[in-house]
């Protein structure tokens, strides 16, 4: 694969399907999450009883298509990092299932975690803490292949090749330690490490968030290039809407452990339907001194995920909240006309009884 020239979409799909590991064919999404839940218990009191749960991920269903870049966006505490770890099986889900290229991920009957991880890798946000400070970086990169049976010399050679490929001169950097690198360089190493097992899917958990602006762009471009060259599928998790917009084909918006809206980049940007998505977009600083933001679209911080609001979780900050929002969880509604655009809001659901159903209410109208 190394050394191949990026090609266009149809060719790409051809090559993705040509991978010997492909099992599901063109119609099969790379990854399907079905109603995944993960709650972390909180222990308290005299007997150390469980008195509550952090509802980190609370019923997420998501589909990642082959070869696409799915952006997952949300604020801190919305569960997006837990979602990444759930996909990698670093955290086991309480309920729900995950299907990888048609195979159920399950250590007993389906694709084992170990085999899953040969096809799926992850890049963490903190470039420093995700590298072993006592290991030269080439060994960090070679670690996974060695654990999967490569000889040491093969793995090291491949690691050095990867270093060059992610833009770090192997001759200069291979034996360096993480503290000798800058943040951007470290993140390149992390990317190389993820690619070392030749995965099909890479989960990028806030992979560029800690970088300086000038470096962020470099790394993003590197990611895009690698994705094209190596025919990868990305799940790109970030809080930065600008970056998500730039890199993604599709976007999923998360709020308090749930997906509230999914759709193509353009759909989300041009026609955000969920009030939260609208608020997010409206909160981005304008970068135009002549058109400064005059009012905050919503007020307050996201609620504590330990005791999330009943019904629609956004209702406590939503200007359109009504009783039905408190009573019922909104189901995901696929918007007519755009098969990929789905929203979990009572205002999109005729049966919900919300007074603004069908009005296409805009949060900007309320706040201005």
């Amino acid at each position: 694969m190394i050394g191949q020239v990026p090609t266009t979409g149809a060719d790409r799909m051809q090559r993705i399907l040509a991978d010997a590991r492909d099992r599901g064919g063109p119609g099969q999404p790379m990854l399907i999450l079905k109603d995944i839940k993960r709650h972390f218990p909180i222990r308290k009191g005299v007997m150390n009883r469980t008195v509550g749960h952090v509802q980190a991920v609370d019923g997420v269903s998501l589909t990642v298509m082959k070869g696409e870049i799915l952006g997952v966006v949300g604020e801190s505490g919305c569960g997006k990092s837990t979602l990444s770890r759930l996909m990698m099986r670093l955290v086991e889900p309480d309920t729900g299932e995950m299907i990888f290229d048609g195979d159920l991920v399950d250590d007993k009957v389906g694709l084992t975690t170990r085999r899953l991880r040969r096809q799926m890798q992850m890049v963490f946000q903190d470039s420093f803490s995700s590298l072993n400070p006592r290991m030269p970086i080439e060994e960090t990169i070679a670690f996974a292949p060695m654990m999967n049976g490569s000889s040491r010399s093969d793995a090291i050679a491949a690691a050095r090749a990867l270093l060059d490929q992610v833009g770090l001169s192997a001759a200069m950097f291979a034996r360096r330690y993480p503290h000798e690198l800058s943040g951007g360089q470290r993140q390149r190493v992390n990317i190389a490490r993820a690619l070392a097992v030749n995965p099909r899917v890479v989960i990028l958990d806030e992979a560029v968030s800690a970088l300086d602006k000038s470096v962020e762009a470099q790394v993003l471009q590197l990611l895009i290039r690698l994705q094209e060259e190596m025919d990868l599928t990305y799940v790109f998790v970030s809080h930065d809407l600008n970056v998500v917009r730039y890199i993604s084909d599709r976007i999923a918006v998360m709020y308090l452990g749930r997906i509230v809206e999914t759709g193509s980049v353009d759909e989300i940007w041009d026609n955000p339907r969920h009030p939260y998505t609208q608020a997010l977009l409206a909160s981005i600083p304008s970068l135009d001194p002549d058109r400064r933001t005059m009012a905050a679209p919503i007020y307050g911080d996201p609620p504590n995920p330990i005791n999330p609001p009943s019904g629609c979780r956004f209702r406590t900050r939503c200007p359109f909240a009504e009783t039905c929002c408190e009573m019922h969880d909104p189901a995901a509604v696929t918007l007519p006309g755009s098969s990929a655009h789905a929203v979990s809001c009572h205002m999109e659901n005729e049966a919900s009884g919300h007074s603004r159903v069908g009005t296409n209410a805009r949060i900007a109208e309320v706040t201005q």
Binding site: E75, S76, S182, G183, G184, Q185, D212, K213, S214, V215, E216, A217, Q218, L220, Q221, H239, D240, L241, N242, V243, R245, Y246, I247, S248, D249, V265, A279, L280, A282, S283, I284, P285, S286, L287, D288, P289, D290, R292, T293, M294, A295, A296, P297, I298, Y299, G300, D301, P302, N304
Partner: protein, 330 residues
């Protein structure tokens, strides 16, 4: 260095500020000659990447240095040189005439005292009022920064509050004694975007109401654009460019400013070309002679590697430190 851009002396005058850390033999220069003047009621946004010295510069405006810091230059607040004054006077000024907001609202509060106590102690320190009066003032401040159920919030410990609330408390604390100058060190970086905008708007509003001068340090151009009247772009401990916000963003003259703007992802879509600045910020311990940006600069000329360019004034209020500035464009 004198500059005639602002006619009357500002509330805060900084001249030839140098800050270096460490023992003489392994000294690292972090701030390498900063000059600026802050007018009354002005918001100066200072933009820079990590390691540009922006945070250290900001803290030195208050005389806050770690151990073994070597400082030269002048920081004049209403004519008084903060760096030359005795400890006692400086302490009387801190928190009263100049106050500060920090980046991480979690770590900026003492975790073992209630937030109310942390505000009242400042009020009592500077105004010498009774605890009761101080509490009443704290409550007012809480209401001013729009903290819901303010009264009960006063008895909260920092860890019991959300990030946005903590930052509001931080602002309340900074405003406790109606300072003339507010120094803000990346106050919204740790916040979510929906909270960030609230804080920015709050700051903007309070600044106008109180007529404060603000120095606002950030790495996010968007944030600077939202609040600043003027933007200074720092690179390797110096201002590369200092210009009114509009000019800085729309017609940057320094290649670094332009590169930064180009590399900032804001509204671009998949496939859009992004011009990136090659390389990484310089190592402060081994700065190149000449312009520190020259090794990464696409417009560098021979002179760039020889001598640091002086601030050049373009138009009335626009300055940049460059031998070969970007052409002015609209």
């Amino acid at each position: 260095m004198k500059h005639d851009i602002i006619a009357e002396p500002g509330i805060l005058e900084v001249s030839n500020l140098h800050v270096a850390f460490g023992r003489p033999k392994d000294r690292v220069s972090v701030v390498n000659g900063v000059d600026f003047s802050l007018a009354k009621g002005e918001v100066l946004g200072i933009l820079g990447e990590s390691g540009s010295g922006k945070s250290v510069m900001l803290r030195s405006l208050m005389g806050l240095f770690p151990r073994r810091t070597h400082v030269t230059g002048h920081v004049r607040l209403a004519g008084q040189d903060l760096l030359a004054m005795d400890k006692k006077t400086l302490r009387n000024i801190r928190g009263r005439d100049v106050s500060m907001i920090f980046q991480e609202p979690m770590t900026s509060f003492d975790p073992v005292f209630t937030v109310g106590r942390q505000i009242t102690e400042t009020i009592r320190r500077h105004d010498g009022v009774s605890e009761q009066d101080a509490q009443a003032r704290a409550l007012e401040l809480f209401e001013l920064v729009a903290i819901p159920s303010a009264k009960s919030r006063l008895t909260n410990y920092p860890h019991e509050m959300s990030g946005g609330m903590r930052q509001r408390v931080m602002i309340a604390l900074a405003l406790a004694c109606r300072p003339k100058v507010l120094l803000a060190d990346e106050p919204t970086t740790a916040l979510d975007v929906t909270v960030q905008i609230q804080i920015l708007l709050l700051l903007r509003e309070l600044q106008r109401e109180m007529g404060m001068s603000v120095v606002f340090v950030t790495h996010d151009i968007g944030v600077a654009a939202e609040v600043a009247d003027r933007i200074g772009v720092m690179y390797a401990g110096r201002f590369a460019e200092l210009a009114p916000t509009r000019a800085a963003i729309l017609t940057p003259r320094h290649p670094y400013t332009r590169g930064l703007l180009a590399a900032t992802i804001h509204g671009q879509q998949r496939g859009d070309h992004i011009e990136t600045i090659p390389g990484a910020p310089p190592n402060l311990a081994h700065l190149p002679t000449g312009c520190a940006f020259a090794p990464r600069c696409g417009r560098s000329v021979a002179a760039c590697t020889e001598k640091m360019p002086e601030m050049t004034v373009f138009g009335k209020t626009h300055m940049a430190r460059c031998y070969n500035p970007e052409p002015s464009q609209i």
